[in-house]
Symmetry: C2
Subunit: 148 residues, 2 copies
DNA sequence: CTTGACCTGTGACTTAGGTCGAAGGTTTAT
DNA sequence: ATAAACCTTCGACCTAAGTCACAGGTCAAG
């Protein structure tokens, strides 16, 4: 049995995070001591590690709650249910990825176009790009310029 | 001169967003009418468009505030200052990108390993991967498995 | 002269995932 | 027996970028 601080230290998280997970129905300690201290079992620790691993692949706590409800009750769920969660998450991730790649492309273009010198910024190509709506900074669509 | 609703509509944002930008020192209307209405000039509109374009390439409002302070005072800033902001943002973006790619890789691996069938999830490879700490789900380091 | 569309300011609420402080109870070691 | 190190609950605070509600003032049309 772990007290809160012991489990937290063992898993390298904050005590408050554990309380937060409890409040949000992710991980409730199996028992309490006479005096009300949370007592976590080895099984609780495994659940916590499940949570941390799921966080590690990008799941939100709400999604992890879903995964856990399948996990505690495996026999009544299908593989397909689990895979759906993973694929839907993968979709989210790829959407965000696409946005970040647009950012990256635009920023690289801005950076490459700028001399970066100590001269006054009066003719800075970056500022000019942000000022002008012709020659949209955000998308390359028909710009047919090459990344240098 | 635009009233708040006119400028908001012209730029397809919310009136409250404009008030929010004002409160956060991003865009103050040049004047007010007798009765206190905000009045935005054409120049204000251009500044707003600058802000929206900068948002479009991924800058936060705090960063845009920095860009604007250079923009209003170009002569006293160097190109290098601007480029530094862009490069530092690019760095942020690439850090986030790296994390999302890790998520993507892990999720793809989980998804590919799962049959996704209607069978009970009792032996679901996804759940097993999240349960076990051997065979870490998050990183490929020495797994030398191939993406199918 | 009233109705409706607009504007004002203030302050609260949202999401996500915690983190912190205060006031007090418990355990353990000395 | 008392101090240090733990634990409890509760509630407030944090970031980011808004969004919404409320109570009231203004403006143009009919």
């Amino acid at each position: 049995m772990y007290k809160i601080g012991e489990l937290a230290k063992a898993c390298d998280i904050n005590n408050d995070t554990l309380r937060f997970y409890e409040k949000n129905a992710l991980l409730c300690p199996s028992t309490r001591s006479e005096s009300g201290y949370r007592l976590y079992t080895e099984k609780d620790k495994e659940t916590l590690q499940f949570i941390l691993r799921a966080k590690g692949v990008g799941f939100t706590l709400a999604e992890i709650r879903e995964l856990l409800s399948i996990e505690v009750n495996k026999a009544d769920s299908a593989c397909a249910d689990v895979k759906t969660l993973v694929d839907s998450k993968l979709n989210d991730v790829e959407t965000k990825l696409a946005e970040l790649i647009r950012f990256q492309t635009s920023l690289k273009r801005l950076s490459n176009a700028c001399c970066g010198g100590a001269e006054s910024a009066e003719h800075c190509t970056i500022l000019e790009a942000l000022e002008s709506d012709t020659n949209d900074v955000r998308h390359e669509h028909k710009l047919n310029d090459k990344e240098s």
